[in-house]
Symmetry: D2
Subunit: 507 residues, 4 copies
């Protein structure tokens, strides 16, 4: 029934698996990383209201996390959502503006928390929170520009209208690598279009979710809106499965692996829900012989090494015209040699740790496979385990040389390894770019407009993001973000992405 709360369903799932969560130490594990630095960074936690023990992982108006669910707790139900729904859209915009102001006020501590919990360097942590701020500003504007249409009718004295109404509840399952921004993008559009949001963050980044949700809660209360509009459930796969299967999650925005996303997509499709899938990327940069090599080299370095290779838009394949390959690789090897790996909060560090130990294994396996399949490691390739690196998941950013037909480059590995290869003609380069199952981001470096226009045209890159002279990463709020093929086809942020959170009515 649409009129009942997601809560009871989600809570049943939580109750059944919370012991497991406790056992697997979801919040505890985080503590393992974070609590060690709790005293050092107690200002961050204090500012954001996070305690040493955060055992309340469910928020739907009131914080809870254990014991039986009290029915009087305000659930994410339709009545509540209706209050937002029927709020004039520009007024929703003003609530989002207040959320923005609250985030601006907490920008630095939030950025630091992202760095602590996820492991990315501080400027990237702050930058991620800024993306949330940006989309809230965007949604504020949208609150006056979210237009429907009046369409000419063939019937005398009649007009047709096209309207966009909220769907109800938007579920957001986000990944560890952007523990704030992905939720930010989805929640801003979900709220401005009149929906409520239920967030299941990555099990490894619950503190970011707690901190953000506390801020939203406060803002909602200040505007006499039910804080359950921005609900939170932490937990593992079981929670995700429940959320995915539940008919009352009218839209499910899922960010994660293609493997999981494929199942998520089928389940949501099978119940005729709407899904926004942001799955694996296997992003390539094509370097033409006519490009500005220095510009390209700088862009590639940042795109391949940033966030320790754990961005969905990280450049993983470098497709270089044979005539400039040596010259470019020389530059890159030199630049890679200067990348400082270390504590993400330290000045000058460009590459922090991998998020999990498992990723270190992946790193090693990929390099083994490269060798086995006939490729070579051009630089990097080491796991760092000594001294300051002893307790972390640190690896050295790596360049390999491969052939386009090698299997190892067909898959996305969330580590700082960039596979390089050569081509002779643009057609060949495009075929290589398009020759993988994923279709998120791609980029060409060239000064030839004919190349540019071929690249963005019907016979060019088949990705959702088709950059020119900028790297594969660096999405902007104004454009639609997302990818084709096994990347899932969803679009977030700008352009007409907001329509995905609405039902369209023609009359």
């Amino acid at each position: 029934m649409l009129s009942r709360s997601l809560y009871s369903q989600a809570s049943k799932a939580l109750l059944s698996q919370r012991p497991r969560v406790a056992r697997s130490g979801v919040l505890g594990r985080i503590s393992a990383r974070c609590l060690s630095t709790f005293d050092k960074h107690h200002d961050v936690f204090e500012t954001l209201g996070i305690q040493k023990t955060n055992n309340k992982g469910v928020f739907d108006g009131e914080w809870s996390g254990s014991g039986p669910i009290v029915p009087s707790i305000n659930p994410v139900n339709n009545q509540v959502i209706a209050e937002v729904v029927t709020m004039p859209i520009p007024k929703r915009g003003h609530v989002l503006l207040a959320m923005r102001d609250a985030l601006v006020k907490n920008l630095q501590p939030l950025g630091k928390l992202v760095a602590l919990e996820m492991g990315k360097i501080l400027p990237e942590g702050v930058g991620e929170v800024q993306e949330y701020i940006d989309i809230l500003e965007y949604a504020l504007g949208l609150s006056r520009m979210m237009q429907g249409a009046i369409i000419p009718s063939e019937r005398p004295g009649h007009i047709m209208l096209e309207t966009w109404n909220p769907l109800g509840t938007v579920g957001v399952i986000s990944a560890f690598n952007f523990p704030v921004a992905v939720y930010g993008w989805n929640s801003a559009l979900a709220l401005v279009t009149g929906n409520g949001v239920l967030w299941k963050p990555s099990p490894t980044t619950p503190l970011c979710a707690l901190a953000i949700t506390r801020i939203l809660e406060q803002t909602l209360r200040q505007h006499n809106l039910p804080p359950a509009l921005c609900s939170l459930v932490t937990g593992g796969t079981d929670v995700g499965v429940s959320l995915t299967a539940d008919k009352r999650t009218h839209v499910l925005s899922f960010t994660g692996s293609t493997q999981v996303g494929r199942e998520v997509g089928k389940v949501v499709q099978g119940r005729f829900g709407k899904s926004i899938l942001e799955l694996g990327g296997n992003n390539a940069i094509v370097v033409m012989d006519d490009c500005d090599i220095d510009l390209a080299a700088r862009a590639i370095l940042f795109a391949a090494v940033g966030t320790a290779g754990q961005r969905c838009t990280t450049t993983r394949r470098l497709i270089v015209h044979e005539s400039v390959y040596d010259s470019l690789i020389e530059r890159l090897i030199k630049a890679y040699g200067q990348v400082k790996v270390g504590d993400p909060l330290d000045d000058g560090v460009l590459c922090g740790p991998l998020h999990t130990e498992a990723a270190v294994s992946t790193y090693k396996q990929v390099l083994d496979s490269v060798i086995k399949q006939g490729g070579e490691v051009l630089c990097g390739g080491q796991v760092l385990t000594e001294g300051e690196f002893e307790h972390g998941n640190f690896v050295v950013p790596t360049l390999t040389k491969v052939r386009p037909d090698m299997d190892i480059i067909k898959n996305e590995a969330f580590v700082p390894i960039l596979h390089t290869m050569t081509f002779k003609t643009l057609d060949e380069a495009i075929a290589i770019n398009n020759g993988v199952a994923q279709g998120l981001s791609s980029s060409i470096f060239t000064t030839n407009p004919a190349n540019m226009f071929k690249w963005i045209g019907p016979k060019g890159s088949d990705c959702g993001i088709i950059n020119v002279n900028i790297p594969t990463n660096g999405a902007e709020i104004g454009g639609a973000f997302g990818g084709e093929k096994e990347t899932g086809g969803g679009r977030e942020s700008g352009s007409d992405s907001w329509k995905q959170y609405c039902r369209r009515g023609t009359w």
Copy 2:
């Protein structure tokens, strides 16, 4: 591989099942209906180039239908499609204009063929071909207005672009009830956006598909375009399954039952293809006490009885304010009594036969259930079997009286039965309207603007089509056609539906 033809795959499927098709007599069964009237209507068949024996059911540049597939036959391959793709879009528009002219020239015989093969009355048959003509005109305009966007960028000296490129191949699986228009809507948009089309019509309406495909073939040849751009495969479920599962069907537009559409959607989603689903409707008209009763009665009659209740937008539920129920029903019973059932080509006939014998059974079962569940039959209820009706599937259009909570009205039955019920408040009426799984079309009759705006607003009808003072049927080219919930969420025809046939690129 994207670079290979759909042909070999489709043909393998065909080869493996064609014997079955032959056995089940797909083309033969049609003959059973049509060939009996071949001599009477030989002008239609002659004009459209349809022979008594149409054993060639596969068209992909050359007609074939038996024996081994000759590899030299021009397939639906990427090279071919690329020629269209790289054709300037306004020039594509001119090819569509030529198709339109060819259809206009054959409007009457095509309309008659629809009437003969599907069973709808002649004006409806002609009207359906007209919808194809309309969308071709629309696509002609679109060929100059299919805009991408230039979006402000936050990077100095940079702009963002949003482009729309063709996806490749669009598969269209259409249903018996609109044997021409559904394909027309899809193929016009698929072609103008630069795709090739592969059509699998209903196994029971192959002659319409043959006639249309012949006309398109001729036009494409005249423009030196590969006729395989508009390919056709006839056959049964196996062909549909192959087409659905094939990665090279980049977009699959499926019109049919929710049951099949659910599986189709999951398969296409599982391979990260794009689907356009137009599934079951269970369309209701809400009649307010303040409405123009005569206007409403006329609209209801046509919406419930037209095409013998076999339109996806047929009105199946009538939700009437208790204060005007008796008065409206009286009018309707009188009007139903005057509906002439008979040969769809005869003048004055409003209601032709059902398309299959199975539908006659459904008709009877539904009425049995109504009685069993405590409802009553207000008028109609008979299967006609005597005299001129002896060999056909004729039934009398029927009104029932039911309660909103009865199970029988939750499902769509493709027969001319209209379930009537009462309500007290608009909120209640909306709850009844929304209280089924399907969400295609809905309509309210009222003269009160407050009712209208509630109906189209966030707390109103949850259907894709939300009419006011016009019935549930009668889509127009300019608006987006399709429904929410178990109707599948796809949109065809106007507004921004064309974007579904494209991949979006942001740069």
Copy 3:
């Protein structure tokens, strides 16, 4: 020459007329009104940085106002503007956001200053500043959504683009009745589209202009932008004439009388500049017999009496169906009797003074003419001169009864007089509504959708604003504000109004 500054031209005009300005005591006259209350409201002036003697009425980066213009002063020249122009558009948005924050901080004192200087009541003064804040938020969103287009080309391998680039300098000549909002609307859009702005406020409201400009100056400096981007010249007609005639005022936005606007429009057209004209309104409300009379009465009262009848959207004509005329007038006369006239800063006052003594004369002349032409005064009609009213321009809000063919109702008088008349049919009411030269705002009160759709259709109201069940005033940021016919045809604020501040390029 485009490459030279507006400054020297404007300054020449200023030099030549500044003595006259001094003589006519522009700033001094204001003091006459404001300085008397300077001590009482010294907090307002202090907060906003306005001194007792404000003799510096020219701001183009540095404040000045007398003596020779020092050439080193930073002018409004193209280099300066180019810096904004080449700033990424979303970054411009952030400057506007900072302006918004500064206004929010000063909302109350600014609103009070508007009340003091213009004479409107405090909530209206605050509301006007809020409109400026609203448009800045809107422009922030626009900074990411101000889209150009990619258009299909008929040439092989070619695309067409449509781009929107800044024009250079936007002149704003604003009127006394909205001393803040009109400039706000124009400057926000002018700045976000990349232009500089030169403001000439009404000679009778310079302090509002000074206060606003100081705030903008500070924000621009904080962002290392030339404060001359928001330049100010105070003065009289000579300054306006110079600004209008100067080729370097690429866009001239003029708000004022039709009489002056006609000349302004011709001068700007004659030099092929672009003008945005917001001229006289003569706004009518049509009251149908089927409407909610109480709702209508409340709306009419506020629309006719608010701002003492000095809004451009003030309701001046009331066209009432003969069957409800008596009933409505009775309600209105009662309501008018309860309107408190007085000091605009006093609680409970709904109607402040007229802005000038001349307006009091107009008030008397209009009432004389009504009588002379055969009409009658239903209530009000007095000029208040005793007691607290002794030194002000206070009049009593007035209702008259007239015939639609009387000359007196063809012209706009900026006073709180509402002319009432009757009609028999909607066609007649529309003819009366359209039967004046002005075409700003209009409104109908009805519960009949047929009336509504006729009203907004091709045979309905010919005004730019065509309201239904809300009064003639109360524009919203999201829509385009402005009028047809002698109202001038300009559009400000929402929809695509921003395009007027750009040059369009097709390639």
Copy 4:
């Protein structure tokens, strides 16, 4: 009064000046050119229904041209227009489609008539009629896509709408150089938006206007629409003046000189009408050193010599990088030497006669001035008067060499003279391009994307058309056509040009 006909006013003007027209022999003069070839091309005239004596130059439902106006003649009045206005917009589209079909049927004879009467070569004549056909197809699509907007409102339970309704009557004053297309562009959009059209063609091309109007008349009659919807008045300046001044010409689309357009603009602005001005161009091509010289040379030749230099988009200035100047000029001189001048109907002729003897004088004066101001003639420069050229206005296409600061290149001369000059930097080239008062079309030839993006950006070309690697001419239907500065600012054809023929209503 809006409710009265344009007819009586226009007819009064006609009556008063028709004798003068007769005396000055408007129709007779044409005969001077055309009648001499009447026998040779009698098929053209016969097909189009044009007689030797065409003394009926006024069409407003019935053809007339002398004697008193019979009041029973159906005028262009509001009742008539209302019939179109209230016709569903897609149905208007179908009338336009029928007009298109009629033009297609007459394409060749119409093209020939344009060649005969205007003097352009046959392919250009046919091409011009094709542009009319193109816009009718575009308007057909527009009839289903001419959208208004639904805009979020800040008031609870309220929405804002933006609607586009017809204005009434659109006057079109067209020039001799495009005797068919300019009217076509305007009339198609005027009609689809629901207006009537009144056409005053150039006094020197009335036969084209007669032929077109006859075809439209027939189509309108076939659709039971008043043929007066497409009215025609031939005549001279007096008719133009009347049409311009008349309040009932709600929109005046004027194509002609800047000198006349300036006055037209002021008159229309003075009465608060809407004008669409397409005035003088002074179009330049910038040739960068990195461009494809052969491509550029071919484009320049066609753009400067086509239509004998009498297109509004003819290239008149060639701004060449000094390093490629000699090489380009060498190619051009060679190409100019091969241009065949002669009878526009002869095969192989690229350059027909000038339209008037006065243009021959202009040609000579421009060349004199070039020499006097220090420039030189590089090739061409002769008036042809012997043999076949004896009775015509034939001149040889000419290249000059000038300096950018010479006065002679600031003005547009409608003759085939191309002024060439050199530059060193792109900034300098842009300054030269922008350094004239006109702003219609401009083009750059370059292979450097940095140059391209500078060219189309805020510091680039200030023209309305900003081409890249295609010449200054060759507008396409999908884009907006028109220019900035003294070109008048109007936009015709694609994008949102249709909105100019509408009044916007916000509610």
